[in-house]
């Protein structure tokens, strides 16, 4: 059998993505990971590369709305997908309360793990309105923090969950968090 004609070469491949709501095109090598592409081509350096093996969670982004590791996916695989990074989530304001609470409770020191922590927290609170501390810890099991310790991070997420629930129950009269 002859080799299929349309196997891409090892050379550069043109991919199109919607990153933080904007259409972009990049030229990547097949072996470039999504985190390589975001950081090096698109200069979105909020997504961090730590272990590059799926163990630390510093590289989390949202792919079509679900958190995935940017280091465990090749950029070519994301061709046609919607990617939201920590920059996009920050700009849109959807995690402003989480960011403020992390700051208030000293849930970060060097900040290296923080983007991944916030993406995990954001996804958890999207699916579970009032997670127990146990559930929060479980959700964070793939995110390593080397400085702060997890107590303050869990506190911050629990506090935001409580505040959002209080706001929601006040209905239309609820003030902003």
């Amino acid at each position: 059998m002859s080799p299929p004609v349309d196997i891409e070469t090892e050379e550069q491949v043109r991919i199109r993505l919607i990153v933080n709501g904007r259409k972009v095109a990049c030229d990547v090598a097949p072996r470039d990971t999504l985190v390589d592409c975001l950081r090096q081509q698109l200069e979105l350096t909020g997504t961090h590369a730590g272990c590059e093996m799926g163990a630390c969670g510093a590289c989390l982004v949202q792919l079509d709305g679900a958190a995935v590791h940017g280091c465990l996916m090749f950029a070519v695989q994301a061709d046609g997908a919607r990617i939201d990074t920590i920059e996009g989530l920050s700009e849109s304001g959807v995690i402003a309360d989480l960011q403020a609470e992390f700051h208030r409770r000293n849930a970060l020191q060097c900040g290296f793990c923080t983007p991944g922590m916030l993406i995990t927290a954001h996804e958890l609170l999207t699916h579970v309105a009032r997670p127990s501390r146990e559930t929060i810890r479980d959700a964070l099991s793939g995110n390593f923090c080397r400085c702060t310790g997890y107590e303050a991070i869990v506190d911050a997420i629990a506090a935001v969950a409580a505040a959002r629930a209080a706001t929601a129950s006040q209905g239309a009269e609820g003030s902003s968090p």
Binding site: G57, H69, M73, D138
Partner: protein, 286 residues
């Protein structure tokens, strides 16, 4: 570390993927969720020349009822195993195992079929497929076939899938009234691979066990059915004496190797403890 350079091909049908593999020689890998493959490429444990992406093959998706079977498409993500109502109703043992598979973001991407195809002896799903007497549907150049789980896991990371073949779906017998399941694992930290794990499916008549499937993971080179323990339980009521007999029978079922941090005797001990707990749970449900 970074993967060695490779070429990339996105397949849209099973036929296209099989053809691409056949035409490309030896040095080719399919990529599904990539949650095991990409780290292996980054560490250069593997360095294929070509990657064939199977994520866009519609036929590998979906969970459907098919007579007495539940068909679980290979591309079903681990997170769907947690949330799909058909899995919860008809394959509750897989639902019970799913929260123990890795971490949330890995579950968003990793696939059920990838886990079964990889056949990591420390993984939850391959062992549960074995406990359930499931059948694995495989597509190759010479057509389709269904392999019983018993004949599927052949050696360490080796399965009945030949190079170039694709795991299409796993077919699981529907969960029936009167059946009971239990699952648990002992790990150092949540989300880590287990020191020992076990799941079981028991078919009961009142409090009598008519049939039972018990599988262990992380106790050897392959997911392991505990046949002697099953025999000790079949036709009996679960009481302390029966549980002790089943635990003792594990000596004949499991032959864990010594590893750097866990002596074989300790793993066997943990397996007995775990089996005792699971049998206690289904005994209470009687």
């Amino acid at each position: 570390m970074k993967a060695r350079a490779f070429s990339y091909f996105r397949a849209h049908t099973i036929g296209e993927a099989l053809e691409a593999h056949a035409g490309a020689g030896d040095d080719v890998r399919f990529i599904a969720g990539g949650q095991s493959l990409v780290p292996a490429l980054a560490l250069r444990l593997q360095a294929p020349r070509i990657l064939i992406d199977i994520n866009h093959i519609a036929e590998l998706r979906g969970i459907t009822r098919d007579g007495e079977w539940l068909r679980i498409g290979a591309l079903t993500r681990h997170c769907e195993m947690l949330t799909d109502p058909l899995i919860a109703e008809f394959a509750p043992l897989l639902r019970a195992a799913a929260p123990f598979v890795a971490h949330p973001a890995i579950r968003n991407r990793g696939t059920f079929g990838g886990s079964v195809a990889l056949a990591d002896p420390a993984s939850e799903f391959p062992a549960m497929v074995l406990a359930l007497d499931a059948e694995i549907e495989i597509a190759g150049a010479s057509g389709r076939r269904r392999v019983k789980a018993d004949d599927f896991f052949t050696d360490l990371f080796e399965t009945a899938i030949a190079p170039g073949e694709i795991l299409v779906a796993v077919h699981v017998p529907l969960f029936q009234a009167g059946q009971r399941i239990a699952f648990d694992e002992l790990a150092r930290r949540r989300g880590d691979y287990a020191l020992v794990g076990c799941g079981l499916l028991a078919t009961c008549q009142g409090d009598l066990i008519e049939r039972i499937g018990i599988s262990f993971f992380s106790v050897g080179d392959v997911p392991t059915r505990a046949r002697h323990a099953e025999t000790a339980l079949t036709g009996n009521r679960i009481d302390a004496a029966r549980i002790a007999a089943a635990q003792a029978a594990l000596d004949a079922d499991l032959a864990p190797a010594d590893s750097d941090d866990v002596p074989a005797a300790m793993r066997l001990h943990l397996a007995r403890v775990l089996l005792g707990r699971l049998l206690g749970r289904i005994g209470e449900a009687a």
